[in-house]
């Protein structure tokens, strides 16, 4: 078997590891925190205006 065939298998393997990490962590996160917390983000403030108010 040539080196490049091994590299091909390594690429498949690494892809599976990265994919699995995300899926497992995603499921773990979704079951550990309430939906209310996870989706509580609101859009950022206007920095320029904030600076204006603070000055």
């Amino acid at each position: 078997m040539q080196t490049w065939n091994l590299i091909e298998y390594a690429a498949w393997g690494l892809s599976a590891v990265f994919g699995l990490f995300m899926v497992v962590d995603w499921l773990k996160t979704d079951t550990s925190y309430s939906e209310d917390v996870l989706t509580s983000s609101r859009e950022g403030e206007i920095e320029a205006m904030t600076e204006e108010h603070h000055s």
Binding site: Q2, T3, W4, N5, E8, Y9, A11, W12, L14, S15, F18, G19, F21, M22, V23, D25, W26, T29, S32, Y33, S34, E35, D36, V37, L38, T39, S40, S41, R42, E43, G44, E45, I46, E47, A48, M49, E51, E52
Partner: protein, 479 residues
């Protein structure tokens, strides 16, 4: 269920609107530069040379500079609006605040499609580059490119999932190397250092100057966009930079200046070495013109440097695209333009993790199942629709919030001249695209009309009408 409560507005950098978990403000101007230039620089390494095929080397240079004007207008307009609308979603969020929900929905989709298609195109290219390396190192079989395409997408998605600071610091490093490689190639082959190999006069005389006349110049405009396509992506970092009012204009404008230099240097070195017929054929001729120029230089060091530069530019682009597409999708979810489920932020990594994961299979389907030129065309067309929106957006912005009514991080000069120029160049480019890809253009506009109808008659009822506007803006003039 653990109650993860960081309600302090100073702890998470977010406003006091009930945010418990928000995106992190950790980025600086260099990251903004890396995001914008990183997405684009692959266009210098490959793709722009189709413009040479359409009209010759001079046509590609004219397209390079005319498109440069277009994108300078884009960068200036974006810098002004985004330094004020400092929220994730970029142009989508701008449209939401300034124009209205239907425009915002469309712009959001333009962004997601443009970036996801570009990500797929980059992954296809990365797979191809690995197979070239395999052949160059003596591999005799046919390398299966699929695992490398999948690995590129999954690795970069994983990086994005784990946090924005590491993602864009990675982009900063590989983008800087890819840009430095172009500068080194220019210095080494132009005669600035050592002996030059440029043959512009011989390669562009007679018929070769403008082989298809001025209509060729017009047709070249389509691929002239390729030199800069994606610089507007800097706006997606708006909710994650420490100081949007400073970092976004600085990073974006430094980015367009970098690209103007990189595009001109690229044209100069490639058109001075490669005959236009070879350079302009990006499929059977010069797939990666900077790399081909390095090969003709005879220097192994340059060959390696430009080879690495090509791969890094491809990965930086895909990486930035994942970042931007996920932010746009996330913002639309957060405002319920799409299911609110997508508006979740990871409590540990502080990234829009569901949007990142959701877009992975879509990118994979396009990367593994669609031809590269169609994927690229869909990306360009979506981008072009976005650019057409920008001048209308900034004209309305100045009208509703005139100078002095709201503090801007950056004020673009000569208003409304940049908007008019941008609109005019967009019209020319639409015509150029129509010449080459008329069917796709009509099909795509048809697609956006259908989804607009869906949004208007169905989806709009779910949109958070008031809750989507949480920034303390003054009332627009006349309302």
């Amino acid at each position: 269920m653990a109650d993860f409560n960081i309600t302090s507005s100073s702890a998470d950098g977010m406003g006091p609107h009930g945010t418990k978990v928000g995106l992190l403000r950790v980025l600086g101007p260099a990251h903004v530069w890396a995001l914008g230039v990183g997405i684009v620089l692959v266009g210098e390494y490959m793709g722009w040379n189709f413009a040479v095929g359409k009209g010759g080397a001079y046509a590609a240079l004219i397209a390079c500079w005319v498109a440069g004007i277009l994108y300078t207008c884009v960068a200036m307009i974006d810098s002004e609006v985004t330094s004020t609308v400092a929220a994730a979603g970029g142009q989508y969020t701008q449209a939401k605040h300034i124009v209205g929900p239907l425009m915002a929905f469309n712009v959001g989709l333009y962004l997601v499609f443009a970036y996801t298609m570009l990500e797929a195109a980059n992954a296809i290219t990365a797979g191809y580059l690995i197979s070239v390396v395999a052949t160059m190192t003596g591999y005799e079989g046919t390398l299966d490119q699929r695992p490398f395409i999948i690995l590129a997408i999954l690795f970069l998605a994983w990086l994005n999932y784990r946090g924005v600071l590491a993602t864009l610091t990675f982009n900063l490093v590989i983008t800087a190397i890819a840009f430095a490689a172009i500068v080194v190639l220019f210095l080494s082959t132009s005669g600035v250092v050592g002996t030059g190999i440029m043959e512009h006069a011989a390669l562009m005389e007679g018929q070769a100057a403008l082989p298809y006349g001025w209509i060729g110049v017009l047709a070249a405009m389509h691929f002239g966009l390729w030199y800069y396509l994606g610089i507007e992506g800097t706006t997606q970092a708006a909710e994650e930079v420490r100081s949007p009012a400073r970092a976004l204009p600085f990073g974006t404008l430094a980015g367009i200046m970098t690209l103007l230099i990189a595009a001109t240097l690229t044209w100069y070195v490639c058109s001075g070495v490669l005959p236009w017929e070879f350079l302009g054929d990006g499929v059977n001729g010069s797939v990666a013109p900077l790399f081909d120029t390095a090969r003709l230089s005879g220097s192994n060091l340059l060959i390696w440097l430009l080879g690495i530069g090509t791969l890094f530019a491809t990965l930086a682009s895909a990486n930035g695209c994942i970042n931007d597409a996920s932010r746009a999708w996330f913002s639309m979810g957060r405002d319920k333009y799409l299911p609110g489920w997508f508006g979740a932020v990871h409590p540990k990594y502080r990234t829009p993790y569901r949007s990142i994961v959701f877009l992975v299979p879509i990118a994979l389907i396009f990367a593994l199942g669609a031809p590269l030129d169609q994927v690229i065309t869909f990306s360009i067309l979506s981008g072009l629709l976005g650019y057409t929106f920008m001048p209308l957006n900034v004209i309305l912005f100045r009208k509703k919030w005139p100078m002095g009514s709201i503090k801007r991080g950056y004020e673009h000069p000569f208003h409304p001249l940049p908007s008019i120029v941008l609109l005019a160049i967009c019209a020319v480019t639409f015509f150029a695209v129509f010449l080459g890809y008329g069917t796709q253009l009509v099909a795509m506009i048809g697609f956006y009309i259908v989804v607009s109808l869906w949004f208007h008659f169905w989806r709009y009822r779910f949109v958070s009408r008031a809750a989507q506007f949480t920034m303390p803006w003054p009332k627009p003039k006349g309302y």
